[in-house]
């Protein structure tokens, strides 16, 4: 997949739009166009995200995204904390699916420290990851509906319907970890909390309710005429451009690229649980919705398989946390990527340095940031209303993008 600057320029030229790398003065020397600062305080920017939109009427001519309003120096913080202290800190990165942040971080540390994870812990992590994917996609669907339908209309109805079912998943997490957000249930080598008695029945009943409601969501969104009018052919991201920009996850699969780390580089229990990767053609907002609906159903299937096949055994393959400095790495560097609900969440760690109990450098590769990088390419030509839909369909989480 050779992609050079020339191909990028060609692609934008093919669309007849402004090259996002060029200064606006090249196109609008008289400053005729209206410059709209979209965000950071705007109801539909999914947190604090800002775009500068150059508008011709309501048509976007050029869009410049700005990130960093939610920067919290998490990577730097992780260099100061010991390996065992970091799990609760990264919970807040992707605040819609905290479980997967913990998982990505601990998997990187396990690889760095050479710790083996017992089979039961791997299956539990897979169960949590799939439940988290269900919860995250539900929240995405709700907020996407908010973007399309407004906080005082049908959008909020779907939003609250999705929250109603997401609550069931959070209740399951609370049942295991005692928390609804700061789970801190992963530790190096396994899991901190074992499943309580009778958990399988609760998972099954919650998933049955969620599954039965998916048809309702489809009536209110995917199968609804207005939703289709608003999403079909809007924000088309073609597969080549997506690969070039590093877009992963449902956004990439909606562009027809069959790529999923759960199948292509299995971790956790995915070597034993076969994942049916959901893809769609078209790369527009509608395709992205289709992919996420498909993944919702697939994740429910995987979560059921994971709880049914949950093996017995220890939940941790390393000593439990007793001291802050108990895990040490004198050298080495690893990269681990996992498939979160938003795409490839990578963690790159360099061990060693002055303090062996802390990483020398930790870098998080957030899928949201790469999804946002597609905006200057797919926004021009759309209207302001479309901009909201396109931004929402990419499912950006600013906590993760800005870290």
């Amino acid at each position: 997949m050779e992609m050079t600057e020339a191909t990028l320029t060609m692609q934008s030229a093919k669309r007849g739009r402004v090259d996002p790398h060029r200064s606006m003065r090249a196109y609008d020397a008289d400053a005729d166009l209206m410059l709209l600062h979209f965000g950071p305080q705007h109801p539909s920017t999914h947190g604090v995200f800002r775009m500068d939109l150059h508008l011709d009427g309501e048509i976007i001519v050029k869009a410049t995204p700005y990130v960093g309003y939610l920067h919290r120096a998490v990577e730097k913080l992780c260099e100061r904390l010991t390996y065992v202290q970091q799990t609760p800190v990264v919970d807040k990165n992707d605040y819609v699916s905290p479980m997967t942040n913990e998982q990505a971080l601990t998997m990187a540390f396990e690889k760095l420290l050479g710790v083996e994870v017992p089979r039961r812990a791997r299956w539990m992590r897979t169960l949590f990851a799939e439940l988290q994917r269900v919860a995250s996609h539900l929240l995405w669907l709700g907020t996407f509906a908010l973007d399309l339908g407004g906080a005082l209309g049908g959008g909020s109805t779907l939003f609250l319907h999705c929250f109603r079912e997401r609550e069931l998943i959070l209740d399951l997490f609370e049942e295991v970890t005692g928390a609804r957000f700061h789970y801190n249930t992963h530790l190096i080598g396994g899991n901190r909390h074992d499943l309580p008695a009778g958990f399988a029945a609760k998972v099954h009943s919650a998933l049955a309710i969620v599954e039965s409601r998916i048809a309702e969501y489809e009536v209110l969104s995917l199968n609804n005429g207005i939703f289709q009018m608003r999403s079909r052919g809007v924000g088309v991201l073609d597969g080549e451009l997506a690969l070039e920009l590093g877009v992963t996850g449902p956004n990439l699969r909606a562009s027809g690229v069959d790529h999923d780390l759960r199948r292509d580089a299995p971790y956790g229990a995915y070597d034993e649980l076969a994942v049916n990767v959901v893809t769609a053609q078209g790369g527009d907002c509608y395709a992205r919705t289709q992919v996420r609906f498909g993944e919702l159903r697939e994740s429910i299937r995987l979560a059921r398989a994971a709880i049914d096949g949950m093996p017995e055994g220890p939940i941790c393959g390393h000593k439990p946390i007793r001291q802050p400095g108990q895990a040490k790495a004198t050298s080495g560097q690893v990269y681990v990527g996992i498939e979160t609900p938003r795409g490839e969440l990578g963690t790159f760690v360099i061990g060693g340095g002055d303090t062996p109990t802390c990483p020398y450098r930790l870098k998080i590769r957030p899928p949201s940031l790469h999804a946002l990088s597609a905006l200057p390419y797919i926004l021009p030509g759309a209207t302001v209303s479309d901009a909201v839909a396109i931004l929402g369909s990419l499912d950006p989480i600013m906590g993760e993008a800005d870290r």
């Binding site: 402004v18 790398h21 970091q86 017992p118 207005i226 055994g313 220890p314 393959g317």
Partner: protein, 393 residues
């Protein structure tokens, strides 16, 4: 058709939800039950001998990622209960405002001396109120329900060598029965009521009587409305801001409509409002908005030719209209009320029978204008945006 079906299905879905039990509860009155493992606040419990279990080993203070725990270890002394020598702690503070409830302090405590509790602290007005001091932590140990986890148990459960029997996974998937989805039948019933023709006749009588009056108030009203129309017309010309000019024009048009209404031509008044204020004026606003470059700033009239030119055109138009009015027969002494009985049917007949040629010619003119507007509007592409003039990377 598909869209109608979609919409009806969506409406049915929300209606069905409206008759389901709600998933929320009224909080202070009803409290959702919390799980056994729910953890929010902290407590410093006793050990099995009835004295505080904490020995001030500082592990929790060092493990805390948010660094919100401050422990002041005390001196070692003999325990009054067991008589053995042990360590104590003098002070213990947790700042809840920065705590992330990660449970690591509980996890590392080998003495089970710090635990989490299931009942949350109340919201406070002062930041200092969220700092859990020694006394409050001790009080929580007796007043609140302890959460499931404590250090030794957690550590033991995570030990790799541990073998524990698991509760068998109970398979229970209560299937939610699919509910029937047909729209609720609606059958409005109707029946006739005795006709009420008296009221209408009376109202018309009254209206006519009102119109006929040549009293002072009518003249006064005419004067006020006419002054409004004239003054706002002056403001239209005087306004610097183009949008304001259009809005003043709106007032002129409304005042004209009022004049029509006072002359008894209420249909004409309504149409004047509908077409001129609701349509033409709105279109003008629209035109100004999509053609003006810098919103709000109108061109300052620097050249002197333009006002003169405008005045000449306006004067000649005024002359034309005035001449037409003067030359129309039968207007000289016919009072306004003579026109009043003209019904809508008469008006329609007049336009579509007597003056049908003029009417059709006017329609043709408007059609030509529309086509011309479309032709002018279409001449826009290719726009300047398609060809960048300079490449500045």
């Amino acid at each position: 058709m598909g869209h109608i079906n979609d919409t009806l299905r969506a409406l049915w879905t929300t209606l069905r939800t409206a008759f389901r039990p709600t998933s929320t509860v009224q909080f202070p009155a009803v409290v959702r039950p919390r799980g056994e493992r729910y953890r929010v606040s902290f407590a410093l419990p006793d050990d099995e001998n009835g004295e505080m279990a904490c020995i001030g080993c500082l592990t929790c203070e060092r493990i805390c990622p948010s660094q919100v725990i401050k422990v002041k270890p005390g001196v070692k002394r003999e325990s009054p209960v067991t008589g053995k020598k042990r360590a104590y702690t003098d002070d213990f503070v947790i700042d809840l405002s920065a705590c992330i409830q990660c449970e690591l302090c509980v996890q590392v405590c080998n003495n089970d001396a710090i635990v989490m509790v299931r009942e949350a602290e109340q919201p406070m007005f002062e930041r200092e109120d969220l700092v859990l001091g020694f006394a409050r932590l001790r009080k929580n140990a007796t007043d609140r329900t302890r959460s499931w986890g404590h250090g030794t148990m957690l550590q033991e459960s995570q030990e790799p060598a541990k073998v524990e029997k698991k509760a068998p996974a109970v398979k229970a998937a209560p299937a939610v029965a699919a509910e029937p989805r047909q729209p609720a039948p609606r059958s409005p019933s109707r029946a006739a009521e005795p006709p009420e023709d008296g009221a209408r006749a009376r109202a018309r009588e009254g209206a006519r009587a009102r119109r006929g009056g040549t009293d002072v108030s009518a003249t006064l009203a005419f004067g006020v409305v006419a002054a409004c129309a004239l003054l706002s017309a002056v403001f239209v010309v005087r306004a610097v801001d183009l949008i304001r000019a259009v809005l003043w024009l709106g007032i002129t048009l409304i005042a004209t409509a009022a004049l029509y209404a006072m002359l008894g031509a209420s249909f004409l008044a309504g149409v004047q409002l509908l077409l001129y204020v609701g349509g033409v004026m709105t279109l003008m606003v629209f035109g100004v908005m999509i053609t003006r470059r810098h919103e709000g700033i109108a061109p300052t009239a620097t050249d002197t030719v333009r006002p003169v030119r405008g005045a000449v055109v306006a004067a000649s138009l005024f002359g034309l209209v005035a001449a037409a009015i003067v030359n129309t027969d039968g207007l000289d002494d016919a009072p306004a009320r003579a026109l009043a009985p003209l019904t809508l049917a008469d008006l329609g007949r007049s336009i579509l029978v007597e003056h049908v040629l003029a009417f059709e010619a006017l329609s043709l003119l408007l059609l030509a204008a529309i086509i011309g507007a479309v032709v002018i509007a279409r001449r826009r592409d290719p726009g300047p945006l398609d060809e960048p003039t300079e490449a500045s990377r």
